[in-house]
Symmetry: C2
Subunit: 312 residues, 2 copies
């Protein structure tokens, strides 16, 4: 049997990143397609992968790591859909079904952050960790958690940016930018929340500006909540805001201060907080894993059916 | 082969509850032994189970659902130990090793709340749920989470009482009773925190007393954090404080209010919050499951060893 090859889509609110391959050492056909309407975006993505297939042969499955919220309950007819989103036209659009039927391949589907968390677990900073969380801090704040090799789903999927933290003493007046909660962690520490308060990005502010302490306080609270609820061995901070020099160390300091010695010795809990190993490729590599999982499930089902027929 | 029988210990800070059996329909030999020094407590527990064995025949394994913090990393030589605790003599005592070697049986070991969460998942309010959390609100506040049938461990084990929530507007002056964090959720909403502020238990206060709203606010925040981090299908509130009439409904109201429509329709998120189905027996039944798991692991290992010898 030929070596399998997977299509991967990191479906974002501004662009769809597409690629094929099987691992960090094997990524090909990387391209970016702007996110417009669902119909236009999907038709461009499908046309692209059809060209890839003409050139390089069949694709065994496709994986989609998507912006959310999304429906992940595989007993639901809406599985694979984007749920209610401010992005025009995308609410209730079944992205997984549209792509899978046009390309005639099995499809894997999860959130973008669950994808990134899976990739960091398999190839990156969370290798061998029974519990790890990938946090992205950019336009929004979200996170994906992998436990014993599988991303958490549950009732919906986690949305860790929407925790309501106590306010930093020097930041009590700002109302926050989250349309749902105002002053949740996303409303207080995302890129737009930083722009709204200070008119520039965190990395453009001098290192003694109080903004650094304020943002580290909220992200430190987020890390503390993760310790208390799931006790991760790694909390991987990705996304534009966390590229700010010195921010991860400030977050480590806040966690030590807030933990009061409770979640383990300081050096142990310092080591939990880390940058991504896979950088910006975590998302697309996660989508590739979702494609592989879809292919494995599909192969397993086909095998069971064949055996069933043979027994009959 | 005879039907297996398990010993179960719910190891608490004030008493050790002991029993034998296999399920809620089959609990026998229930007794309570006061928690004193480790040596005295263990010797009484061992004497008790030795008498049970004389009367009823061998026990296949023992499960211990313990007060914490505990060491759960099975690659550590301290696996099965109580970690640093204010309880005199118990810090660094290896409870699992002491019981297992005296009774000469395989031993399963986890936190008391992970045990209760396992029992509610198998027989109770969280049956069939991929993600569920058991919260206890009493002398302390803790929680155990079961994901796809297994309790979460991670770096340490979760300690969900130690989240720092925003303060209720009518409760900003109280410093909180947690020796580590002061005003964490345990420091603000546990039984001792209620006593400290109002000199009586929550159920003794009139229904229009502001304490009800204040406690529901903190426990609602805890539930909201759980939604954001792990999206449980069930959050089961057990422990003395949550027996207060009307409290679960007040918590549901707070979650709706704080969620801002974000974690699903109101009736869906109302249904997540529930009382335990197994009542006070969740802990001892959880210990029984830990015993069963230890027995299954032990049988599996013995089988592999036998097969290895046969092949050799």
């Amino acid at each position: 049997m030929a070596v399998p090859r997977f299509a991967a889509i990191e479906a974002g609110g501004t662009k769809f990143v597409c690629a094929t391959g099987t691992s960090p050492a094997d990524i090909s056909d990387l391209t970016r397609i702007p996110t417009t309407t669902p119909a236009e975006t999907v038709s461009k993505v499908v046309a692209y992968f059809n060209k890839v297939k003409e050139k390089g042969g069949p694709l065994n499955a496709i994986g989609i790591a998507s912006f959310g919220p999304v429906e992940l309950d595989d007993s639901s007819s809406r599985w694979g859909s984007i749920l209610s989103t401010p992005k025009p036209g995308w609410s209730d659009f079944n992205l997984a079904a549209a792509i899978s039927s046009a390309l005639e391949t099995p499809v894997g589907f999860d959130t973008d952050v669950n994808g990134a968390a899976l990739a960091e677990y398999r190839w990156g900073a969370a290798k061998g960790c029974d519990v790890s969380t990938y946090v992205t801090v950019g336009t929004g704040i979200g996170g994906g958690t992998v436990i014993n090799g599988r991303p958490i789903h549950g009732l919906r999927h986690p949305e860790i940016g929407h925790i309501l933290p106590p306010r930093h003493p020097a930041d009590v007046a700002f109302a926050g930018v989250c349309p749902f909660h105002g002053a949740c962690i996303e409303g207080l520490a995302s890129g737009p929340a930083i722009q709204e308060r200070w008119g520039m990005s965190l990395s453009d502010m001098p290192t003694d500006h109080e903004a650094h302490d304020i943002i580290a306080w909220y992200l430190g609270h987020l890390a503390l909540v993760l310790h208390a609820v799931i006790s991760p061995r790694r909390i991987i901070f990705g996304g534009g805001v966390t590229d700010t020099p010195g921010l991860l160390d400030r977050i480590r300091g806040k966690v030590r201060e807030l933990a009061g010695g409770y979640f383990g010795p300081g050096d142990l809990i310092d080591a939990v907080i880390t940058a991504p190993s896979l950088g910006e490729r975590a998302g697309i590599l996660g989508a590739m894993i979702l494609g592989e999982n879809a292919w494995l499930n599909h192969s397993q089902k086909s095998k069971s059916q064949r055996e069933g027929r043979e027994r009959a």
